[in-house]
Every structure is written in structure tokens, then in C-alpha cells.
Symmetry: C2
Amino acid sequence: MIIQKSTSPRISSFDPENFSFGDTFIDHMFICEYDNEKWGEPRIVPYGPIGFSPAMMGVNYGQACFEGMKAYKDENDDVFLFRPEKNAKRINKSASRLAMPEVPEEIFMKGLQTLIDLDRDWIPKGEGMSLYIRPVIFATEEVLKARISNKYMFAIVATPAKSYYSAPVSVKISDHYSRAANGGVGSAKAAGNYAASFYPTKLANDEGFDQVIWTDDTAHEYFEESGTMNVFVRINDTIYTPKTSEKILDGVTRDSFLKLADKKGIKVIVGDVKVKDVVEAFDNGTLKEVWGVGTAVVTSVFKALGYQDRLLNLPILSETESFALSLKKDLTDIQTNKAEDTFGWRMKVEKNILEEA
Amino acid sequence: MIIQKSTSPRISSFDPENFSFGDTFIDHMFICEYDNEKWGEPRIVPYGPIGFSPAMMGVNYGQACFEGMKAYKDENDDVFLFRPEKNAKRINKSASRLAMPEVPEEIFMKGLQTLIDLDRDWIPKGEGMSLYIRPVIFATEEVLKARISNKYMFAIVATPAKSYYSAPVSVKISDHYSRAANGGVGSAKAAGNYAASFYPTKLANDEGFDQVIWTDDTAHEYFEESGTMNVFVRINDTIYTPKTSEKILDGVTRDSFLKLADKKGIKVIVGDVKVKDVVEAFDNGTLKEVWGVGTAVVTSVFKALGYQDRLLNLPILSETESFALSLKKDLTDIQTNKAEDTFGWRMKVEKNILEEA
Ligand SMILES: Cc1ncc(COP(=O)(O)O)c(C=O)c1O
Ligand SMILES: Cc1ncc(COP(=O)(O)O)c(C=O)c1O
């Protein structure tokens, strides 16, 4: 690995109490380029621009996929990643579906750990604080032909993330737009899936909703996901979530919630979640909670569901009554090293990896 | 418009008899940036790299769409665009579906004409030769948040295109993968649509097919498109093509074929094209031709259709018997100023636009 440290680091001017999420970047980034059918020398370089022409294939044909993961700092300033091997596997699943080369797991893990160790001072500490990490692979060849690119870049960039209380949101159950096709790329974290969701989300926003619950494109009868999160429904004391498929992203938070619920003795059913059944449960008073899960906010509690012309206002549950919130606490306690890690999910980022390398 | 001419033009080393399509770029490119809710000053600059970090939203979230169009040089070295207003409209239709700002038609047209005029020496002359032009809009903000970008670039780049005889191809009628969802972005020239098609196309290639005929994702009962082209089927002497919808790109070549067929007195039916009906026509000997149409190759004749375990070998028709080939000739004669332009489709690129500007 080649390391080119920043000669003008910005860390001294970083205020962990006051920064903007998403566009405050840590001092360095990790990059590795693919050409001639192989990955080149991994490098850590100062965060910043790289030269691409508007003919870049990643931009023109959307051959690009990414991951979203976090690093957490505990009371003793130790830094932990959460199930990073899941993200390493998933980026390669996404890459394969988009006919892109897989990134060897060692390159992913070594790059990730070295970068996070080097810029560990950028990780804010305290309740809900973290570093949001973005691994991304994209086609870099500059050719005006709609075909598989021969050149790629794998990069990791990161931004400090704030503790933010996520207020309960209203979501619209989609009855026209969709996120995924049968035989499409819904199970991949493909760049194009996100752009496709912006306009329908904007329309829902205009109607007063915060997010869209995506349903099957054929007849809008089944829940798929919510916004950029997996979705859970609680009817009486049983929780339901759609099974993963080629249309649904296999979320790390979803999987962790399933394991934590099971450990807690909550009954979980993974399978079809019918819009009709959810509405029926609302009508007969058995619908207790609906929520989304994902790395960014961990849990987003829904206060209302928009279904056709109706607005289904959900009960407001206390932190002890709510499965969504108690599972969220179980999860974040493990992530931030406040609870025993019985599943072996935390991975400590060792210090001074660079000097050993 | 700001013009920054190349100080080291490559045109003198360009050999119109021997160049590589797609990665030979003309000396200049057109760019215009969007920020603060408005488009800035349009510019023509030397073709080359621009600095973007791996956090660029166009790459991460696929907020990017493009056009593909051509300029043709006639015997007298006059240069013509073909129905460019269609591409100007379509890029904005695509942009809207991806929650991107529209490019004002004047910026599109003026940029296009000025660039093509300036680099007109790059347009190769002769049978089938042209300049392939790529307008593209992409999100340039560098933020790790899955939301609509606030910054964009509209660019036009171009590459000389060769006369290439396109040999008849074998295509596979898709029975699992799909290109578009109901309520999705299939009718947009969205970057992500192309990446999504690469892997299924590669699988079809591995089975010996050149392209995929995309069918509806629900039950694979209806033809949608073929590869990156619209599709036509001829049964007896009637031609059929799917009607445009939110799943099908409204192709300029398709529209032109429909108008030319009509003029020729060929019976055309625009509506559902059922896989079952095509196979049945093959079996009873009435299936005469199946072909794809698009700007790149104008017409791609299919020699065989792969359907489930069968290979349907299509008849080989002469240039006079074939509707595909006679319509192709009608169209290319208009494009290259060899035939009267009764529809008003050609747009001449005036000389020295720049000096007047
Ligand atoms: C479409 C989509 N669904 C679900 C998720 C949740 O996945 P994870 O829990 O791995 O963050 C994400 C990413 O956050 C996503 O982008
Ligand atoms: C998906 C798709 N369908 C059809 C076409 C044909 O459109 P046009 O005739 O405007 O080139 C294209 C572009 O070439 C395309 O990308």
C-alpha cells in the first residue's frame, strides 16, 4: 500500500460539536484502480478531486455501486467497525450484478482499516456519533460505447456523522412508482437505483410524506422497502419483514434486527408482507408499529402510513413498549461497545496499522 | 458563451480512414454548470479531464442521463444534424424523471451547433460515416447523502463514427432479466439502465446471442426493446412495434421508421407485441423479419431469436425484399442529404457560428 499523507490536514479545524454531515470529509481517502483485468497498488491519498472527462463510463452508463457503513468510538477512544465483512461481501454482490470486477476482501478490509486508523481523530464521540464510511466502485474508462468498462476505481471516502434524533415520519405506500423490477437490480446497491427513487420521493414529499414504502411493480400488493431502508411491521407481538430477493437489498441492520429479535424471544416472520394485511391490521387495531432500518439512522419510526386516499395514524409507543426502539437500543449498544458482543459483530480498528504495514 | 480553443489541437493527426470509435474525441467539448438553481455561462473548452472526487453524486447515486445523436457530412462538406430538437426534448424528459434540472433548449442547441461547427473537420465523410455526439447531464455535488443534488454539469462530447456493416445478429428473448419496471425509469435514458443491462447481456453472449430482447418483468409475455434499440417485427407485410410507455424509450429512429413506413404505404401497427404471437407467426411461416433500430447502427437485422430452448432462424431477405433494409436506406439518404427532406428532419450546421456569437 502506498501512503501519501496530507501535507495540509484539516483536522485541527474540525469541530466535532459543530460540523455538517455528508460534505465534511476526513483528510484522506483510499483508492485502488483496476485495469488490464487486475487491481493495482492500493493507495491512501489526501481527499480531493481526480481528473475525469464527461465521457467517463461510470457517469454515462451508471456502472457504479457503493456501500454505507459506520465506525464508532467508545469511551476509551477505541474505534470499532460493525460487521464490515458484510459490506465487503455485498459490494461484490452489487458489482457482479453490474458486470463489474469484485474487489478482493483483503483490499477492502486493509484499505478500510488503514484509512480509519489514520483518520481516527475525525471520529466524533458520544451518543449516536460516528463516522459514516462510503466505499464505492465505479467505471472510469472514457469511451462512448454502452458496454462493460475495462477500467474501474475502488475508493473509500468518509464523513463524520452526527447524533441525530430521527423524529417519527409519515410514509406513503407506493401505488404507482417502484424501486425494483423482477429480473432487475433491486438487490444491488447500484447507483442508478437511488436516482430513480428521487422523483417519486419528491412527489411524496409534496404530498406531505417523508418517504415512500416501495411495493412490487406488478400490482403494488407487497411491501418491499421503505426509502433507503428495509421495512418491519409489527402486528400484535409478531414482527414481519419481507424476505430478501432480487428486488430487496439484504440490509445489515435488517439482519441484525432479526437476530436480536430472535434473541429477545420476539416472534419474527420473514415472508410476504401484504399491503392488504397491514391495512386490515390497522383497521382491527392490531397494527402496533411499522419502521424502517438502515445504517444511517438505525431505525426510523413511522407515525403514519398514506394508503390510497387514507392516512393511517399509528399508535405512539413508549421506548419500553416499542420493539423498534428497544431493538435499536440493543443494536447501538453493541455497535458502540456498551454491551457484550455475543454475536461477534464488532471489529476493533487497531492503532498504527500503517507503521506495521 | 465562453470559448477557450485548444492550444494543442489533435485534428492534424486524425486519420478519418483509420481511427477507433468511441475513444477518439474531437478537440473540444461543451460544458455548462448548474448551481444555485440556475445554469451558468456556457463554455467550449478543450476536451479533457475535470476534477471530481469519488463522493461525486452522479457516480454515487446515478443521477445522470444522456443522449446519443449524430452529425453527417454530405458531398459538399455541409454538415447536418438529424432531428436534434427530439434529443433536446428527450434529455429533459430523462432529467425530470431523475429529479434533475432541465437544460434550456437554447443552451442545448447553441452549444451543440457551436461545438460541431468548430470541430467540423473531425467529421468523417462517406458511406455511413458520421460524428457520434454525446450530450450528458450529471450531478456534480460532492455529498454523501442519498438526495437530489444541487449541482450539475451539462456536457457535450463527441467521437467520429465509422461506417460499419452490422451483420445480422442473434438475439435472446429474455425470460428472466428485465430492463424496466412499471413505475420505473425505462423511458428515460438514465445512466443506470445501461449498467443494469450489461450482466444479462453478458449471460446472453455466453449462450451465443449478441443481444437481449427485453420483455415485461411481470411475465415476459410482451416485447419491450432489444439491446439499446427499439424493436420491430414484420408478420406477412405488416410491421409491429410496441407503443412507447414509461418502460420504453421513445426512440428517434423508431419514430422516423414509423413515418417512413407510413409514407411507403406499409401497414404499421403500434401496440402490444406478444412473444407468443411472434413465435406462432414463426411456426406458421408468416414471421418475415425482426429488427432493432437506434441512432448508432440505424438498423440491426436479426437472423435468429432464442426463445426458451428453441432457436428460431429467420428468413434471409434481400435488400429489396426487406422492409428493415429499405427503410434504413430511406432514412440514411435523408440523414446524409442524398434524398429530399420531406419531413424537415435535417438541420444544417452553419459555418463560423463562433465568429457571429
Ligand atoms: C435501498 C436500501 N435498502 C436498505 C438499506 C439498509 O441496509 P443496511 O442496513 O445494510 O444499511 C440501504 C442502505 O442503507 C439501502 O440503500
Ligand atoms: C434503451 C434504448 N432504446 C432505444 C434507443 C434508440 O433511440 P434512438 O433511435 O433515439 O437512438 C436507444 C438509443 O440509442 C436506447 O438507449
